[in-house]
Subunit: 430 residues, 3 copies
């Protein structure tokens, strides 16, 4: 009844995955820089110090509690039985990573993958709460995701949990597939971003009463666009490592996964470039960065599965949807998401998961993906909302009014990121 353990890993595959995971912090560095660039100059130091703190808190929370709940594919777990089937819903690995060194190689690498994945996931809502979320709020979100929510979902998806076993138990393709974190990192992070902006509200002045939404351009386009190029390297590493770890892809499938990643980002940025040029007369640099990232996010679900032409088309679709969705969220739903994370990571991840199901050769794979998406939206989203609602009751996520007025850097750190540069007065550049 327990699933068969994955095949043993060759030394070559082991060192490939390890080397790639060690450079995947480039995705973290790139994303943190993008978030900072998309915010205001008077919040730049707080944004990046928050990123370091979030990485730290997410990693510590995962080490002390999360890894136990995440479990490993062949390890101990909690399961319910219903309808004659096992529903494996929570891992039960040893506390504090005990016995890590004697675990099977694949399990060790899986754990390292999850460490990097959870820090990336925790950074996503931080960008959406830019210019108003307190450092403690960022850390609280990281703790909630790192200790509990991410591990829960990661167990379902990567450690023999019920979503992974949809194939075995219900003949739904190969079970829910998420080879590089489209669900566990990006959809989860995007949902946390939605909760954060929901609880914290928009920046002051973003939606003036009776007027149009105020454009608040990112303060440094170089950070935003350069961060996209760094992120490409991180994503290439993550997608290929994930294809080996979670799809058990043979070496000969991996150059194709890398090509798909590049083509998804390429198709996406080309599409966003075209769409924003048509909509606004000129291409929009920030939205193009969003598009590029959404293409990468979609590739996290698909790079190891599809053909290059399919990868390109997946990117094109992501690049068309992203700017439209950003606009709908801002103008129709009055959501103030400076980094666009809800559209980029949330919707981009969902699109990738659906596409992976639709294009998979196995029968039932699309249904497996939809069940997984339903679990994310139906279980993980309410759980994140509940936990952050409680946090917000005791430690308000949002900064005091005065802090927003003088800027997060001065308020939370006592000094700005650019003490020697002359900055425009607040209302002079809008």
């Amino acid at each position: 009844m327990t699933p068969t353990p994955p095949p043993a890993m060759s030394d070559a595959a082991f060192v490939l995955v390890l080397a790639l995971l060690l450079v995947s912090p480039l995705a973290i560095a790139g994303l943190a820089l993008i978030n900072t660039g998309l915010g205001r100059s008077r919040s730049a130091a707080q944004s990046l110090l928050g990123s370091l703190a979030i990485v730290a808190v997410a990693a510590i929370a995962f080490a002390l509690a999360g890894a136990t709940f995440a479990g490993t594919a062949a390890g101990a777990s909690h399961a319910m039985h219903a309808g004659g089937k096992p529903w494996d819903w929570l891992g039960a690995a040893p506390l504090f990573l005990a016995g890590l060194g004697s675990a099977p190689p694949q399990a060790q690498l899986g754990l390292l993958f999850e460490f990097l994945a959870v820090t990336l996931a925790a950074l996503i809502p931080w960008g959406s709460g830019a210019d108003r979320l307190k450092l403690t709020a960022g850390c609280a979100v990281a703790a909630v995701l790192g200790a509990l929510v991410f591990p829960l979902v990661a167990h379902w998806v990567w450690a023999g949990g019920w979503l992974a076993q949809l194939g075995l138990n219900f003949s739904l393709g190969a079970g829910f597939q998420d080879p590089a974190g489209a669900a566990t990192v990006h959809v989860l992070g995007g949902m946390a971003a939605l909760v954060v902006v929901w609880l914290a509200g928009p920046r002051k002045g973003k939606f003036p009463p009776g007027g149009f939404a105020t454009a608040m351009p990112g303060h440094n386009a170089v950070y935003i666009l350069f961060g996209c190029l760094l992120a490409l390297a991180g994503w290439l590493a993550f997608n290929v490592a994930g294809a080996v770890l979670w799809l058990h892809a043979p070496l000969s499938a991996l150059p194709g996964a890398a090509v798909n990643t590049l083509l998804s980002a390429s198709g996406a940025v080309a599409a966003t470039f075209a769409v924003t040029r048509i909509r606004f007369g000129k291409p929009d640099a920030s939205l193009c960065a969003n598009g590029w990232l959404a293409g990468l996010v979609a590739s996290s679900a698909t790079a190891g599965i599809v053909t290059p032409v399919q990868g390109l088309v997946i990117g094109l679709v992501a690049g068309v949807l992203t700017p439209l969705l950003v606009e709908v969220l801002e103008l129709a739903v009055s959501v103030d998401d400076p980094s666009g994370a809800i559209a980029v990571h949330g919707a981009g991840g969902l699109w990738g998961l659906v596409a992976a199901g639709a294009l998979a050769p196995q029968a039932g794979q699309l249904l497996a993906q939809l069940v997984g998406i339903a679990a994310l939206i139906g279980i993980a989203l309410p759980l994140v909302y509940l936990l952050l609602w409680v946090v917000n009751r005791f430690v308000p996520l949002r900064v005091e009014q005065d802090g927003e007025r003088i800027g997060m850097d001065l308020h939370e750190l006592g000094g700005g990121a650019y003490p020697e540069f002359v900055i425009h007065r607040d209302d002079s550049y809008r």
Copy 2:
């Protein structure tokens, strides 16, 4: 009559090359940042958005058409017969990367290498056209290089084409050797840069009538010099991956190739530092960055072939030549090349190719290299000129006058890269 296929690749070599190729976008990120730093602040967002667009267009063009023409070493190709010898001049691989996953491992990695190489090549002329080339111009150059010119040269050099077979057919050493793109990326990119500045002309005010050339310093030295350090990591990866792929170097030759890369850059920057200090009284930061890059470019031809001391000397020579050539191009030939790409990539690549021939143990290798260089200058350069001349007739490469006056960011994107920073008025910092 067909060349023998390369020896089968071990799994260890495969995963090494794959891991290195996945981090080689660091060279792309570094070069894009250098280009941006060497331009003006009012073009910074356009410069980096252009870089994303160029990466995208080059990758898409190569996927849809270029890869077919590039072909693979053991794959189908078009050949003419003349003088009793085959002249294999164009690949004929399946369209749209069909069958990628079932190609031999070496061919798959070669294709991935070419994807990254072509995007790097397409970025080179973009830096030379800084502050006046339109986004569409950058994309057009990327399309021309990605779909046709790069694949043509790559086939000749890396896929059993006539240059690769100069050894087999005419006993010229091991045939033309270009282990990491000195010819296909750098000389080609440098020639495209020459064509671009030729067609687009200098920036307004660069060469005032009857006066001296105006110095237009890059707007951010941190981007320029930090980009150089990032590029080092990318180059190390590229050079070692190339030595395995295109020279079939054994593992034991690879640490030496890495040391050579580091020493070439080191020798070059030391030489440029000394030369500019002697010439101008103080070392010039931008030219030192140019020198460092030229050392890396020269190593792309030589790192896998020479001894460490030779690598150091190759760098020293590159570092002496680069600042002199930049000055000659600017003052004697009135070429306005903000990034110095013509000297850095064009001349640096040529120097590396010649040095690789002169220092190779095989007889006839220098002649093989010279034949390759002649083909680049005699065939690829006119072809690039012709194609971009046609492009320029229909979609002018150069921005309208007003765009140059207000800055590329405002003109093409509708907003600047640094909306919150106070920038000097245009004529106040010269």
Copy 3:
């Protein structure tokens, strides 16, 4: 009597270490950017051009002289005999890296590791001398470290020297262990930083007569904090490569080493965040960056040895000690160290070396570590002082008074890093 050579290296381990070393320049790029951000805007170009020059000089000095003195584990060396024991104190490898390609794989990789380590070490004092050290001073320090001091220590530690043989000859555990440069890079670099600030003195205005020390905040917090994220990737690569090379760790121990690295940085930044918040009411971004780096530095001695929880605690301690030590050095000892390198690299490295000894399973390991530390402080520190004292007699390390007044960029390069940005007048932002 000679130590047994290390076991032969598998191809998988070889390619892992090689791939990781090729991306470890991310640590160099990150550290250089941090140093620049912690300095003044009017020294930013000089800081980064200095970094390129230091990398170059250190690499060239190591290639031409240092590698000979460093030697390799199974290679020729100079040894004295005293007390019936051999004291192997200096390598005697062939000059100019001759025969590199035919050396055993492990020796080749060790040499490449040392090339990257020595450039990193030479960058450390450069940050401490920010805003007043001349470019020639940075190069002189790099030459001294690269040609002589680093090779000496590296031979003792990594190439079968007397510190490495403390276990064999005196039953002190496994001999002095420094798996990723905590001693050879960080303690040595931190000691060189101490010597540099000692000889050069504080920045003008830092310690006004009869008043408090002047706070001189770094000019760009984004560079500082983003550099920390880049450094993480570099450190992960370095620590894992070092564990294979110098500890001969099996593949199955390596994911744990990576997790430890991440947890050390995480614990450290969390602790510094808390300490500075308690001390000053608000967390201090620069000190948090220092803490993060100190955690990474401590992990360089311990990541391959300890458990994850121990790794976390090592980071916590480093994060508590670092801000206190920075404050003591500044306020009690009047040391002006803009980058905090003495505390971060010097003390952080010492703490890591002690912790590695205390937590090692072998008896006598702590004593071996203490002997190594005594050798660093008792031999290497005086040697560095002597050599730099001589340098300072002939080529003053410190810039002329006027240079400090107008800024290093204008004085040494003739132009600033940010020519288009409006910068506050010097005394307006304190």
